[in-house]
């Protein structure tokens, strides 16, 4: 966390290079507040009475001035959402199908991604943005498959935000017409609030966790469009009720798409990869249609100019 303001940005690193560009101000401008102390308080305690030491409770002349209300009506996430929209446009322009993978730590996200890119890389450009508090371990596991990966280290931060992903994209300028997987920090709470510009959030729930995870962490399962139930090869050994878990997820999100997979045995991987390919093909098709429409518009305008 940034030691100056506690903003959680101080230790963010992308491929081990610090991100801290600190767009926000640490301008601790106390304004005229100090200079309104024209009279002397009858304070017996011997410390100098600086701003912030309980003046709010005194009937102080400077604070008894008429106050005014200023209407704001602004969304707290407006900045993140604006950058997420920029990311979304960038992804569309590059015909990228982008997923934001969210789960508890240990659900098998990275293993799933390793297996997934091994299957897809023959025919598709794949890239992974890895989010963890510390270490390059996950990016290195992805790179070992020959697929490029960018590691974001959030330091003390508990989630990725849209700006971190935008910065990570600076390292991926040649990426187009393919799939980008963003593996969020292992955390079923905080990443729910932050749009990164992805097409879908995918929540991964492994059968070694509790059946009631979707009830316990409804925000995440409400935000996700897809739930992957992972490690299904372990079902004979654990007390996990797949149908009940799906019921719980549908209680918070009736439209959630569910797939069951085992990275270890490969069961369900075909369905998962087929879905990914269909989505990636669609992203390319949408982009091709956009380009065709633009070409037609340019041709129409050129024809119009020739008539002038």
């Amino acid at each position: 966390m940034c030691s100056t303001c506690g903003c959680g940005e101080g230790e963010v690193r992308i491929n081990d290079i610090p991100l801290h560009d600190h767009e926000h101000s640490h301008d601790h401008d106390h304004g005229d507040y100090h200079h309104t102390h024209r009279h002397v308080h009858a304070h017996d305690h011997g410390h100098a009475h600086h701003c912030g030491h309980g003046h709010h409770h005194h009937d102080h002349p400077s604070l008894s001035e008429a106050s005014r209300m200023v209407e704001i009506e602004r969304n707290l996430l407006e900045r993140n959402d604006a950058v997420a929209q920029e990311n979304r446009r960038l992804f569309q322009d590059r015909a990228l199908f982008v997923l934001n993978l969210v789960s508890s730590p240990g659900s098998g996200k990275t293993s799933l991604l390793v297996k997934t890119v091994e299957v897809l890389k023959k025919d598709w450009a794949c890239t992974v943005i890895e989010g963890d508090q510390q270490t390059q371990n996950d990016a290195e596991r992805i790179r070992a498959t020959g697929v490029p990966s960018v590691q974001i280290n959030t330091g003390k931060g508990c989630h990725l935000d849209a700006r971190m992903v935008r910065k990570a994209m600076d390292n991926l300028s040649s990426l187009s017409r393919g799939l980008l997987f963003i593996e969020n920090v292992g955390n079923l709470v905080c990443p729910a609030a932050f749009d990164l510009g992805e097409a879908h959030k995918v929540a991964i729930l492994s059968v070694t966790e509790g059946t009631d995870k979707p009830q316990k962490y409804p925000d995440m399962f409400h935000e996700a469009d897809v739930m992957l139930i992972n490690k299904i090869d372990l079902l004979p050994y654990v007390d996990f009720d797949v149908e009940q878990a799906i019921n719980y997820a549908r209680q918070v999100n009736p439209a959630i798409k569910v797939m069951r997979v085992s990275v270890t045995t490969g069961e369900g991987m075909d369905e998962w990869c087929d879905w990914l390919i269909a989505c990636a093909e669609k992203a390319c098709q949408v982009r091709d249609n956009d380009i065709d429409a633009l070409r037609k518009r340019v041709a129409d305008l050129e024809a119009l100019l020739k008539q002038q």
Binding site: C5, C7, H28, E65, L76, G157, H222
Partner: protein
């Protein structure tokens, strides 16, 4: 503790508004928080206090206006109360619900001098 990130965003909006209005001090912040939103009121209130420390908004009263959750129930064909995500429709007991209100995290206004 994503409330710290949210509080930082809140401070930026508060500070920007206060500055544009030539405020010397922010006395209070009115904040609309939906019952189904991604933030916990006490954590957010505490985080704002920490972020605002030593700024124009230090000590500002933090007033949370709770907005109740509402959802459109598909089988019932009408809007119903939804106290939390995953709760059933109070009319039919089903879960075919689409949230229509309650995910707000919005700064309504600030009081300045």
């Amino acid at each position: 503790m994503h409330e710290m990130s949210l509080a930082k965003s809140m401070y930026e909006i508060v500070e920007e508004t206060a500055r544009k209005n030539n405020a010397r001090k922010v006395k209070s912040v009115q904040f609309e928080l939906g019952a189904l939103s991604h933030a916990e009121p006490d954590a957010l209130s505490f985080a704002f206090e920490v972020v605002a420390h030593g700024t124009i908004a230090e000590g500002a009263r933090f007033e949370i206006i709770r907005i109740p959750g509402k959802a459109w129930c598909v089988p019932c064909g009408r809007t119903v109360d939804l106290p939390r995500l995953g709760a059933p429709c109070p009319e039919c007991g089903g879960h075919q619900l689409a949230v229509t209100q309650g995910d707000e995290m919005r700064i309504a206004s600030i009081e300045i001098i």
